[in-house]
Structure formats: structure tokens, C-alpha cells
Symmetry: C2
């Protein structure tokens, strides 16, 4: 049963935790407003202790963050390991759960541009510099968010 | 930029939403306690409007649910689509976000067994019936949780 008896193994090496964050293509933002949790998948980039993503300024993600900037961010990579033992199934996985404060970047165009370039560079390597201030200005209603990570925990299985 | 300009496409067919839930190997539970969101990946099974998973009775997931049973549950399947247009990247994806109330099954051994069998059957097809009451009793400290889904929303891209 999913490694219930074996203690989940914390990844103690900060470099490995950061590697898991850097390699993940999709992460999930968790928010909490008035006791209602919300989890949504998104593309993102991890850079020097911050998680950066973007979205529609009028969207639900931004409304949630505006009401409570304390967020959780999760990534995982898992594959099922077949077992000969009935009732036993296990995943090979690595995951990271990060907590932090999210900030919608509004006042500083240079900071927005820096973050957007990092995001483009992750998914379209070599193309970050093609994101110019003019191009950024053409995206109406674009919100860029930076999560300053307070703490993060990585786990892997098998140990 | 990640489909910002094109409206995300809601999956309106309930059967397709349920298919996305059934096919996902890993889902993420979102909880909310005192304004702190928490997101954690887990194995699960979707069955007739309910999401079932298990875990250590003393673990953080169960502590969170005990304090606030209102949860969110998310699954996604995504792959990056290369683009010729610099600054443009898109994912082909399907995702589901479900909201509901989680209940830790404690008083009814038959209900616990039924849920564990469904879980085993998903990951080890044909093996569900190998989960017996005796075997279940051997898992000390095992908590089984059923989320009664109130509402769920699916999205896919491209439309």
C-alpha cells in the first residue's frame, strides 16, 4: 500500500530539492480563502528562491492571491512500480511542497520583464531575450506573480 | 504565452471529466487550515462521484482534514507543444479541479474495505479482491478517506 509502512524519505539536499523544482514542467498553486482551498495547475519557473508564473489579471488565481497571498506550491514526478505482491503498489517519485507569499507584480515594469524572460527562457530555451518591453506591453491584462518561498520540503521514494 | 489570449476550454461533458479523473495516476489534495493552504500529491481512485485515498492516520493530511474537511482535489495531464513563435509556448493538457467534503472512514469496517478494494483494483487490476478484512486489519494506523465531490470542473487545451 503506497509505501505506508516505510517512512517517506525527505530530500535533505537543498540542491536536489531545487533541481526537482527546476525540472518540473507543471506545478500546482494552492490558495486558501475563507476556509476554501483551491488548487490549480500552471506553468512556472523557479529562480533563486522564487517561483514565478503568469496568468490573466482578471482570473481566479489572481483574485485568490489578492485576498490571501499565503500560498502553497507543489510539484511531483511519479511513476508506478509494478509489484508481485497483491495489495501492494508503490510509486517511484520525487515531490516538493513549498510555502510562501505571493506578490502580483504591478508597479515595476523592469521586474515584470525580468520575470517573464525567465519564464520564456525555461520553456523556450534561448528565447528569453526575445521578450521585450514592447512585446510585454502587448499582453493586455497580463498579471505576473512572484512567490517568495519561505520553506520547502522535498520527498523521494524509494529512499 | 501559455494560452493567455485564448479562452481556456471547459470540458462540458461529465463523462470526459470523469475519464480524466479515472486515468490520472496521481492527484493533489488541497486543504485549508487557518488561512494556510497545503497541497500534497497522492494516489487515489475515483468512483461514482467520490475520490478515495488512504494514508497514515497520524499524518499531516489527516490532521488537516480533521480540522477542515472542505478540500480541493486536482489532476492534470500536460505536455509542452513546441512553437516556432518566440515568446510563445503552449501546453496540450486536460485537468480537473474538484471540490468536496472529506470524511475519514473510521466506524464502518465494510466501507473501509470497499474503498481499499477500489484503490487496489485501480493500481493492481484484478487484485482488489485480494484485499481482505484480515489484510486490512494488519495495516495499523491506516486511515481511509472518501471525498464526496460537490462540484468539479474540467479544462482542456487545445479546445
Amino acid at each position: 500500500m503506497t509505501g505506508l509502512r516505510r517512512a517517506d524519505k525527505e530530500i535533505t539536499d537543498r540542491g536536489e530539492v531545487e533541481q526537482v523544482l527546476r525540472e518540473a514542467q507543471v506545478g500546482r498553486l494552492g490558495t486558501s480563502v475563507e476556509g476554501r482551498p483551491y488548487v490549480v495547475p500552471l506553468s512556472f519557473v523557479y529562480h533563486e528562491g522564487a517561483i514565478i508564473f503568469h496568468g490573466a489579471g482578471e482570473g481566479k488565481k489572481m483574485a485568490e492571491i489578492a485576498r490571501n497571498p499565503r500560498v502553497c506550491f507543489e510539484v511531483d514526478a511519479a511513476e508506478l512500480i509494478p509489484s508481485d505482491n497483491p495489495c501492494n503498489f508503490n510509486f517511484r517519485y520525487r515531490s516538493v511542497i513549498a510555502n510562501g507569499m505571493a506578490k502580483i507584480l504591478e508597479d515595476d515594469p523592469e521586474e515584470r520583464l525580468r520575470c517573464l524572460r525567465l519564464l520564456v527562457e525555461k520553456y523556450a530555451p534561448g528565447m528569453g531575450s526575445a521578450m521585450t518591453a514592447e512585446r510585454m506591453a502587448s499582453f493586455e491584462g497580463l498579471a505576473v506573480v512572484e512567490i517568495a518561498v519561505d520553506e520547502m520540503t522535498g520527498k523521494r521514494s524509494p529512499a
